[in-house]
Amino acid sequence: MRRKPEGLWAWILILISAAFLVLMLIAPLAVVLTESLREGLKVFRAAISDFYAVRALYLTLEVTLVTVILNTLFGVVAAWALTRFNFRGKRLLITIIDIPFAVSPVIAGLIFILTFGRMSALNPWLQANDIKVVFAIPGIVLATVFVTFPFVAREIIPVLEARGTEEEEAAVLMGAGLFTIFWRVTFPHLRWALLYSVILCTARAMGEFGAVSVVSGRLRGKTLTLPLHVEILYDEYHFGPAFAVASLLVMAAVVILAARNLVEWLAKKERR
């Protein structure tokens, strides 16, 4: 039961959480925004319209788009397979999906360096076919996909599990094909959870730093995403521009959060 806070302790707990939020989240974000404008609007505008900044922004958007599409497909297929069919090793597979949440992103980056880099057994073949993975855009996409792939599957599996398989069985008995069943029967149940997880996945993909920084190679204008660009500006003591570009990411995060809340609200409204 939710009730109005009563007594000293309730207020103290609320105060502690509020203070923590302000100190840890709101204050730093506010600092980013104020710092970005400290050297004036002119510097801000110059920083975000800088050639390299714009290239980084485009790269980030491209990588995010590809990642979200891949992970949505993978997530839906995996969730469907894991909840609709019984097979040996199913539990193990569900556990494996969570690995990216448990592994440090830096290690995820290293995995790809070892798999596709110069020391790998695949390297001669990649070279012969002129395929660049590491220190190129494919590597960045792979690293980002790896880090964010549990989002969609994790969000959908519980929805499918809770609903059971009877509706699909009814459709099978009436002779519907797999595509019709998914599109007409299963998908309507999933759409809010799917949209929600796509939003979370987008947020994480845009902001991914660790794994990408390992595989990127940091070629300015070529393999720098926004978070990496911010770091490089900062390392070069261009604090104003660094904060200005960072504020772009913050604004994107705010938009994404708003979208998430909208989706949650719409889903709740429909359930009623």
Partner: protein, 355 residues
Amino acid sequence: MYVKITGINKRFGDFPAVQDATFTIRRGALAALLGPSGSGKTTLLRMIAGLEHPDSGDIVVDDRRLNDIAPSQRGVGFVFQHYALFRYMTVFDNIAFGLKVKKMPRAAIRQRVEELLTLVGMAGLAKRYPAQLSGGQRQRVAFARAIAPSPHLLLLDEPFAAIDAKVRRELRVWLRDMVGKLNLTSIFVTHDQDEAIEVADEIIVTNQGRVEQRGAPVELYRAPATPFVTGFIGDSIQLDNCQLIKGFEELGPVPGAVRPEFIGVFHPEAEIPYANSAIDAKVVRLAFRGDTFEVGLDLRGCPLTARYALDSRPIAVGEIVKVLVWRLYAFTGERVALVNNNCTGDHPQGYSYVI
């Protein structure tokens, strides 16, 4: 026979869900698969529909072996326990789904769905969503959806389980009429013996994955084939030792069961037939049951339940009455024999066997 199930086995891992199930159902019958939960009845139904595959055995409907035929080609309609209506489709689209999949022309679909809606008494509710319907209405829609593609065989999994008691009685009668009207061979699964007895023409009793007995409700009641059926169909009280009852000493120390109507209860001062076979028993409970009293008796430590006519001389709790057990079921292993009290010869008097 229309439906022939022969030697079906099905295991889930180490659990034998169905063991050597064999039974038949005649054309046009409304049959019940009756058994406690975990007895394999739903698994059997799902195997007939093609939602599960038997490990061995044959499923034959209308002389066609169904084992290797795809579920949608079997000509089977299925009503799920919780109806499994498509939540995001209207009543119309739910019923039309199977017809659309079969690529029936639009106009024909519209006509068929409207015909079915009228049949199940839901005309005018075509645009509703399942969430806007009562339990009974959902059941009707599920029924209409199952019969829309004109199946030869209708399967229903616990069709009344999700409905409250009052509506359930109505729906039982409704289902009976509906299936009768369509002359559609139907099998429904239930764990409720009253439901099976009231609705079905034939009952197949399952227990622990095996078919215990198949027959008309009256046959099962009158001549149960196994101790399980004796206990499961109708009221009966288990006896650990039939010898304890006067008139059955020659049976030996075998277990058995008695039905309430097998027991005569007499006022202590009443004139009774076969007085020397009567036993004293104490009345421990007396409950008014409309047309009779239900009497709880303590017969030498053995609890019995009997009936006592309303117009007989009144008896009271605590009183010692005379009891005559006319007949009982004696169990020898898995077999059941109906045995008369030896005082009566083979013609019990003062006792009429009414079902």
